[in-house]
Symmetry: C2
Subunit: 405 residues, 2 copies
């Protein structure tokens, strides 16, 4: 039995136009590799994506993309106009890496493997978008929908999806994007249809401080913080919808012989379910007060109490695209037609934001293989067969959604 | 009723020689102030006391002190030989301050007040030692005992009394010092006869780490650390002998979206009693294992367990000098004769080390008043009457112990 999506994909990939586009991807694969290297070696630390954004803009312009601009937050957008009879489809990859300024980003090659921080997450995808532009033009393909290509900022960590927030809530294309595909990391084996939501807090505990011996008995913010962390560690959370917590980064105090004035910990709360996430957040914030009150009850507040300030440092909305949605079905069919068995799953990506707004959105892979993302040993394999096959499956998804004119 | 110590002091301070020495302290008070300023403005951060040590050595040489040298750890020692019929008395002040390199150390004057980091703790005392040398020479005083003047290193924080350890355990004067007086900070109101002992630990917790969401359920070293800190916070310790603990400085983790690989906290344990301190240390170290085992029991160790390493970063022995010892009695009598009401007490000073070895040792003040030690607003008041009166009382103590020939 063949469903409608499989039918659409089967017909699409047999058209001479698509065959021509796929052939371009294969023929120009070494150029794609060169662009992966150039983009990777242009560092893009969190909040410092401008140099890579400018490079991608120049490369996209050389590929004939129109209406190119860098928006107020640093996203680079460019429009490939269709016949005007379809919706606006946005195809994105993110510019930023998790690596701080000064990280060595020179690409090391071993056979068909490329090693460098950020090479797979998500730099390869930026080059794949460029390859798709060339393939579409070489095959003279016109789509019904306009395709908005975006190289966006702020996907990683404390970037907190600020590129997506601007694009969907404040920018030129707000309210115009009808479907969203983000291409993120090589892995073709998963189509992300659910966005794991996260709330991130930095809890700053302060107290009067004092000499560790002379002022012994005064409240100590480190005990309040330990109490909070310990209580969080004992939380029960549902396995499904998957809901998690982590005490991740901590610091504070100035001297071994002083009760600290100030200490802090950063906590990460996540869930597949917006409702569970809200519940977890409320329980957590209530515990902050509990931990502070407990410390002020057991030690002296004669020089002042311990207090806590909760600063929200991340808020990534949860959301999902129905698994029956045509966007999901096209992606599944396109991947299957190219030999991939893709499961549907949850992750935390740029797609969270449109999902949370009810805009159909998925994440697909950029092709090839890779590993050790977010580590200095990150790598991708650009062995041509698997690399091009993945890119071709992705392009088929984009074209099925955008529609051949 | 007058006891023997009061008798000795009463006779001593009426001798023409002592009166002449005291007159010199008064006459040269402005020179002492100049030397306080010069020494204060020669920074002496922990482990970087050499510049100030060299300056003190030069000033002591200009005052005629003999056998001057800087030893292997940076202590500056010089001998004022007596007639050879008495014990070797060591009179010390410490070179180091708590302030890191780069701290502004220019002295600001307001009336008779001098403001600068370290000016009172313990730089004033270094200048007082120099003033005593001059006063003794101007009065042509010979003592029965040899007096070893020492400007020592490593008194503060992580310096961990390394100057004293070298002096008493490895250096040229090991086994020769029969009595020890450290002059530390202006306050004349307390004679320290008991050394608060301390044990300091940095506990490093490590684990497998992992993605905060993807690897949720793995052991997290931050929970083990919070457990240890929380358990320490609930310790019962005796009020007398005073015994204390503090969780003081903490840090670790790298990213909000990662279960940390490694976190650490520094803990400070103290007691007036060596026995109580040992007991506290053993309880604490046992809890490290308890906390690690608890974390490994409640979360998954499939990628490896949490473990902890305890690094001892400070070990200051406790000890005391009997309150009836002649060293204490002379100091009490000398201070009383100069209008001071000094109580006996515990503190943590260079005197801890000789006390722990059974060598009679006390801490006295350097004269004048002061405040805000260990802060950037540290100050002393060099108003001449109180300043000289304190210095004179200290010199009487030294001379009573060393004995007029």
């Amino acid at each position: 039995m063949t469903d409608e999506a499989e039918q659409v994909i089967a017909e699409l990939i047999q058209t001479p136009a698509f065959r021509s586009a796929a052939a371009t991807l294969e023929r120009e694969h070494s150029r794609t590799i060169e662009e992966i290297v150039r983009l990777t070696e242009t560092a893009a630390p969190p909040f410092q994506e401008a140099a890579r954004g400018k490079l991608w803009l120049d490369l996209a312009r050389a590929n004939g993309l129109q209406e190119l601009e860098m928006d107020a937050v640093g996203n680079v957008t460019g429009l490939r106009r269709g016949t005007g009879n379809g919706p606006l489809l946005c195809v994105a990859a993110h510019l930023d890496t998790v690596f701080p300024p000064g990280t060595a980003v020179t690409v090391r090659r071993e056979g068909t493997k490329l090693f460098a921080p950020g090479v797979g997450d998500d730099t390869r995808s930026l080059a794949v978008l460029l390859a798709w532009m060339r393939a579409l033009d070489a095959a003279a393909i016109r789509t019904r929908a306009d395709i908005l290509f975006v190289a966006d900022v702020g996907e990683e960590g404390l970037g907190d999806l600020r590129g997506m927030r601007h694009l969907f809530q404040e920018g030129r294309y707000t309210d115009r994007i009808a479907a969203f595909i983000t291409v993120d990391s090589p892995n073709m084996e998963q189509i992300v249809t659910g966005g794991v939501g996260s709330k991130r807090y930095r809890i700053q505990f302060t107290g009067p401080g004092g000499h560790s011996y002379g002022a012994f008995g005064l409240v100590n913010p480190l005990y309040a913080m330990a109490d909070l962390t310990g209580r969080l560690g004992r939380f029960d959370v549902p396995v499904s919808p998957k809901t998690t917590f982590s005490a991740s980064v901590t610091g504070g105090g100035t001297s071994i012989n002083a009760i600290p004035n100030s200490v802090w910990t950063e906590y990460d709360l996540r869930s597949e379910s917006a409702q569970e996430l809200d519940r977890l957040e409320q329980r957590f914030l209530a515990l902050v007060d509990t931990a502070v009150a407990a410390e002020n009850a057991v030690r002296s507040t004669r020089n002042g109490p311990v207090s806590a300030r909760a600063v929200k440092i991340g808020d990534r909305p949860a959301g999902r695209t129905p698994e029956t949605h045509v966007l999901v079905r096209y992606a599944q069919a396109a991947l299957a037609a190219h030999g991939f068995t893709a499961r549907l799953g949850y992750s935390s990506t740029d797609a969270n934001l449109p999902m949370s707004l009810g805009i159909p959105a998925i994440k697909i892979g950029s092709g090839g293989t890779g590993g050790r993302g977010h580590s200095l040993e990150e790598w991708i394999d650009v062995e041509p067969e698997a690399s091009v096959r993945g890119m071709t499956a992705g392009l088929a998804t984009v074209l099925a959604v955008a529609g051949l004119a």
